[in-house]
């Protein structure tokens, strides 16, 4: 939280974005591609990251995404209200090679509509589209997202996908998912964290839809996007870490 001022002087607007989706659909890989523009099959999981941040430029505005991963808490009904709290955007991810993951995505959309800020911008992302594109298959080795789940506990099982069978791997037709997204009022993308296809587009399209003026108005003076959920809330928030250095013998009582 080095840069917590999102007031009038700073043009950048903090936007909390939450990821949802079944385990192993590639949530963390999408973030990694977006934040670091990388996809390394053997990269260490991003364990220990509270959340990732990434700027997104949009005309004269800079959005600063604060991206929250589920950390495996989507299992066992253990995602806390805090996770959805003040999220202005959500990316709900499914795997185009797993029909069940779209059903799960639909239930996450419902959960968002129940729990989250009513103005939340939701994008639906059908990931691992590289697996169903014969030409994109580089060596026919393994699935794209396997080793890159930030949350090791949800790491994707190995999954072999020869290029020649690619199209047959698809279990979710693009039309079907797109129709659902349209009906539910979601942005829709097919993506590949492996090749980068569609990734940046998710975040720029979300940025276009975010009511920036509204966020600016409601967070002015408050230190965090977490304080932005309720327009017109009085100021007076404090950021704890700022004074951490000068807090003396904080533990001696």
């Amino acid at each position: 939280m080095a840069d917590s001022a999102s007031g009038a002087t700073d043009k950048s607007v903090q936007v909390k974005l939450v990821l949802l989706g079944e385990a192993a659909v590639g949530k963390s890989s999408i973030v990694l591609r977006f934040v670091s523009n990388e996809f390394q099959a053997n990269k260490e999981p991003t364990i220990g990251a509270a959340f990732l941040t990434q700027k997104c430029r949009l005309e004269d505005r800079v959005l600063r995404y604060e991206i929250w991963d589920t950390a495996g808490q989507e299992r066992f009904h253990s995602l806390a209200p805090m996770y959805y709290r003040n999220a202005q955007a959500a990316v709900v991810v499914y795997d185009v090679t797993k029909a069940a993951s779209l059903e799960k995505a639909k239930s996450w959309v419902k959960e968002l509509q129940r729990q989250a800020n009513p103005n939340i911008v939701i994008a639906l992302a059908g990931n691992k589209v590289d697996l169903v594109q014969p030409s994109a298959s580089t060596s026919g080795t393994t699935s794209s997202e396997s080793e890159d789940e930030a949350d090791d506990a949800t790491a994707t099982p190995e999954e072999t996908a020869g290029g020649e069978q690619a199209e047959s791997l698809r279990q979710v037709p693009r039309d079907e998912a797109e129709a659902y997204a349209k009906e539910a009022g979601l942005l829709f993308f097919e993506t590949s964290a492996k090749t980068g296809e569609g990734i940046v587009e998710i975040f720029t399209e979300i940025a276009k839809k975010i009511p920036i003026e509204h966020i600016l108005a409601s967070t002015r003076g408050a230190g965090r996007p977490g304080a932005g959920g309720r327009p017109g809330a009085p100021d007076g928030g404090v950021t704890l870490d700022e004074n951490a250095a000068k807090g003396k013998d904080a533990c001696n009582c």
Binding site: A153, P234, L240, G247
Partner: protein, 563 residues
Amino acid sequence: MASHYDVIVIGTGLTESITAAALSKAGFTVAHIDENLYYGGDEASLDLDDLDQWAKKRSAASDKPLSSPYLQAQAEKFVSISAVASPPPHSRQYSVSLLPSLIPSTGPFIASLIASGVSRYGGYKLLERVAIYHSAGLVKNVPGSKEDVFKSKDLSLVEKRRLMRFLLFAAGDFAGSKELQGHEDAPFIDFLRTTFSLSMDVATAITYALAFCSAASDPTLPALTRIHHYLRSSGRYGNSPFLVGHYGGAGEIVQGFCRVSAVVGGVCILARNILSIKQSPPPEGHPQPTYVVELEGFDEPLTSRLIISAPDYTPFLSNGTSQDNTHSSPPPFSSRRVARGVIVIDHPIYFPFLAPPSSDSDPIVGASVSTESMITPVDTAVLVFPPSFLPDGSSTTAAHAFITGAGSMSAPVGIVNISLPLDGAGSSPPDAKAILTPYVNATMALTKRPSSGDVVSDPIFTLFYIQNQLLPSNSENEVTPPLPDLETCFTTPPISPTLSECADSAAMNAEKLFWKAVNALKGHPTHTPGQGEEIPEGQDLVEIESFWPPLETIVDDEGDESW
């Protein structure tokens, strides 16, 4: 999912959640379980629908012999529950804290918040005011700092000098001082009156509004220690020593600790009833037994080397172990009954202070009202009702009404949490609603703006109950009593019931539990923080040097390209 863990933590209260986060960060595998649908246990923050459910489940559990041992324990702990009216709409806009807490700006809790990274997840604001109830529709200011004392117009010069002398004493190194000697256990309010010659008014304010004592009999040393701490806490974030957490405080912060645990691989499981907890004999080559926890809906049980459990889950332990543990001795803690009330308001509260008459030395006589303080409503404040201040109230204990308004994000307008410790331990549960109604009325009287046409408004939702609360032991050694014969099973000790102390005591409990767990898991008996002794070779864990490891820096794009 792996089914064997180093530690299974049962219960997601403040202490358990801090402990789970610290153990996960230290590299242990942790499963964190709660039967409730929410995080936080007895420290949860709930929306109004969930609060309504919370109340219904606990009032009905005694009628249902089939409910889980946890729920039965809860039904014994929370009695005389009366929810009035069904929750208003937009239930999710409210976060009602089951255990309201003030966070001192320095101390173990805030240190853990920062060192764990949990402080990044939530928002905080300074406590705006502490005031003492004076009479219907009026409150008295509490001078909380030397600056306040200087500025105060309520106090005579002599009184100011005496108060300053006390504040300097309390802020200084009073241990072993001649003033304190022999008075450590004396009633604090008597100590203030005799040793510092303070008037009853000032001594009362210090006792209940600065030290947050609950009765005139509260002893001197703990009260003095609290004031010392708070005087030194103010100024870190502003002129109040206390912070208030957004969205219901502790219950929201708990979610942050649970997330920290999950981010480093901890497994969180909510809303599953525990069917049994058994101890199986030590596996070959292992000195310690294994615990086997069966969860509803899980085909495979979870197993662990260590269990840390909230007390309400321990019926499982004493009944379900494979060894002959028929003991059901109560934990070595005394308990106290606290009447608690939750009042949701849709009109803000004002603190019209008594204005001191210009030439009168007794402020009570000239009961005119100041003008500046009534214009803006209070957002976060504590209103103190010392014993006997309310005609129909308690004559022996003090009530504290903790007001959290829109700025604390806990409600569109406000929530008032009233707590009143009860004297004695009568056999039949007292009527929480009857006991607290005078305090509710006195608080609601402050929704009327003085010298305006407003009328006193009614709460839009109320909930009253009596909580049988365990009190922390004075003995340091009793902090984590393992059940007999279960050396690798710890129950979490009670946290302080004091509004300003509960968060810190949870963090201190958690740190002690953490080191106990580290020791037990290593089979290494005396590793204490700061000593840095050698860990025997061949252990599968790295050396653990601190409660919280150095914090990772947030992966940030500062200065990098942007899309």
